[in-house]
């Protein structure tokens, strides 16, 4: 997930830094001083959560939870993530100083996007509508995947089969499988409506982050093309893990302390 120092080109670094600075500035302007302890404490929890490792086959992944962070903190996710990334860079060495901006944008921007997408779907009053929209959203994702698959298949026929195309189609199939698995759990009743929204938010934010990491690598030079594709494929298991975990957390929160979803204005 973290891009290290030295890989990205200077325009990407500067652009990422500027975007991150404006995002942090906008969200700090919105943030009331009374909310600071809340945001600080929640951001500490997310820092600790990022130290949790979940076993995955022979290996393990550490949590990022930017979808959950976005759902709970909204725009405040920007400074919270910037602080967490600074701490990780300085004290653990993951990521570096110059890539801080790019990393912050790559992780925080999907979080804010997920906030706008999932926030109202989680509120209980519009239950039936939330269900319908969740179904619709799932349908849209699925159709998009199938369409992209067809488009890639045609490209594959024209190019005569290169490695990149096969990797892309594999990653798309995995995306479809992850989404379908979440939908299956939701239909079976294991996930509530709010849980399914959490699943969508958790997995989508990881997908978007992986895509943005891939874009920032690809923008830095032709030679990172393969690495960029690898990043996307490598994040599908993480997508599944984060989606299901976020779903469980959201289900717990909606039952135990629903006001957590409106903790920060």
């Amino acid at each position: 997930m973290h891009i290290v120092d030295g890989a990205l080109s200077n325009p990407v670094l500067i652009g990422g830094g500027l975007l991150a600075a404006s995002g942090v500035a906008y969200s700090l302007k919105k943030l009331e001083p009374e909310d600071l302890p809340r945001v600080g404490v929640l951001s500490a929890v997310f820092f600790v959560a990022s130290l949790i490792h979940v076993p995955l086959g022979f290996s393990s992944v550490h949590l990022i939870l930017n979808g959950l962070l976005g759902i709970i903190l909204g725009w405040a996710a920007f400074p919270a993530l910037a602080v967490a990334l600074l701490l990780q860079a300085v004290f653990f060495g993951f990521g570096g100083l110059t890539v801080l901006g790019v990393n912050a944008v790559n992780i925080a921007f999907p979080a804010v996007l997920v906030y706008y997408l999932c926030r109202w779907g989680l509120s209980a009053e519009k239950h039936l509508l939330a269900k319908r929209v969740a179904d619709g959203l799932f349908g849209v994702f699925f159709l998009l995947t199938i369409w992209a698959g067809f488009a890639l298949y045609q490209l594959y026929q024209i190019e005569g089969g290169s490695w990149s195309v096969t990797v892309n189609s594999v990653s798309l199939i995995l995306f479809a499988v992850v989404m379908a698995y979440g939908y299956f759990l939701y239909r079976r009743g294991t996930l509530s409506v709010a849980g399914f929204w959490g699943f969508l938010g958790g997995s989508l934010s990881i997908f978007l982050t992986a895509v943005m990491v891939a874009i920032s690598l690809a923008l830095s030079g032709e030679e990172f093309g393969k690495a960029a594709e690898f990043v996307i494929v490598a994040h599908f298991p993480v997508m599944a893990v984060e989606g299901l975990l976020t779903a469980a957390t959201i289900q717990l929160i909606t039952k135990v302390k629903p006001e957590l979803l409106h903790a920060v204005r």
């Binding site: 500490a44 929890v45 959560a49 130290l51 995955l56 300085v90 993951f94 990172f224």
Partner: protein, 261 residues
């Protein structure tokens, strides 16, 4: 101030015993160290010349010696961080077009690609060592105060200080909850049950943190919080700091001269 950032095995903060024998870099003004480190990182990422980058790595290593970083823990941390860039460094020679120098299982490695991989590795490690030596040995709270004195927005600094303060608290809470789960026979596996249990764990931590933050707010209001915080320590830079800054400026200009002339 915080235990976790020093307790977690990958962290770089020195333990008490090592801090007693004060290192030279430790005694310098935190603001100067922070500025020098940021400038050094920027200069290194702008460089493309091999000689200059090797020199930069040398400077980074030299700084680590000055900071008296413990050798074996440092090596272990560097290995962990370097394993992150391994994928990138290993694929670069094969994905960059150019003059072929060797081939491996039908994959052709180019000279340009090998140089690019070496460049990425050198840059990452040079910045890593300087970061460890200049900022890694700082107390997180001191870093926050230094950021404030360097005119970083006050809200961001306070968010930083709050986060640093409570990471420790919630790490301990996390450990307690994991212990309780273990006592009930929880073994993490790759299945839905594990994901749900850890999801509930995160959820409970969030619920508790919200309750705690309300108590914090009440305690702050009780002590007259009016939306402003005061950072009391004033940092002074002395003769040694000015000398260090001058040497650093010369070194950075030298690096740029080697790289671009």
């Amino acid at each position: 101030m915080t235990q976790v950032l020093g307790e977690v095995s990958r962290s770089w903060t020195l333990d008490k015993k090592q801090q007693t024998q004060e290192a030279f870099l430790q005694s310098l003004d935190p603001r100067v160290r922070l500025l020098v480190c940021v400038l050094f990182s920027c200069v290194v990422s702008a460089l493309h010349d091999m000689t200059a980058l090797t020199l930069a790595l040398g400077i980074g290593l030299g700084l680590s010696l000055f900071a008296r970083l413990p050798i074996w823990t440092t090596v272990r941390k560097v290995v962990v961080v370097d394993s992150f860039i391994l994928v990138l460094v290993l694929t670069l020679p094969f994905t960059m077009p150019g003059e072929v120098i060797f081939s491996f299982w039908g994959w052709e490695a180019s000279r340009e690609g090998v140089f690019r991989a070496a460049e990425v590795g050198l840059k990452a490690n040079a910045i890593l060592f300087s970061l460890m030596a200049l900022i890694g040995i700082m107390e997180p709270s001191v870093l926050g105060h230094a950021l404030y004195r360097l005119k970083v927005p006050i809200k961001l600094v306070h968010l930083f200080l709050f986060t640093v303060r409570y990471i420790d608290v919630f790490y301990k809470e996390y450990k307690t909850m994991r212990m309780a789960m273990k006592a009930r026979g929880f073994v993490p596996r790759t299945d839905l049950h594990t994901l749900r249990s850890i999801g509930y764990l995160v959820g409970m931590m969030l619920v508790r943190s919200l309750e705690r933050s309300d108590r914090i707010m009440e305690a702050m209001k009780c002590r007259g919080f009016d939306g402003r915080f005061y950072i009391l320590d004033t940092m002074k830079s002395g003769q040694r700091d000015r000398v260090f800054a001058a040497v650093a400026a010369v070194a950075l200009l030298g690096l740029l001269a080697v790289g671009y002339l």
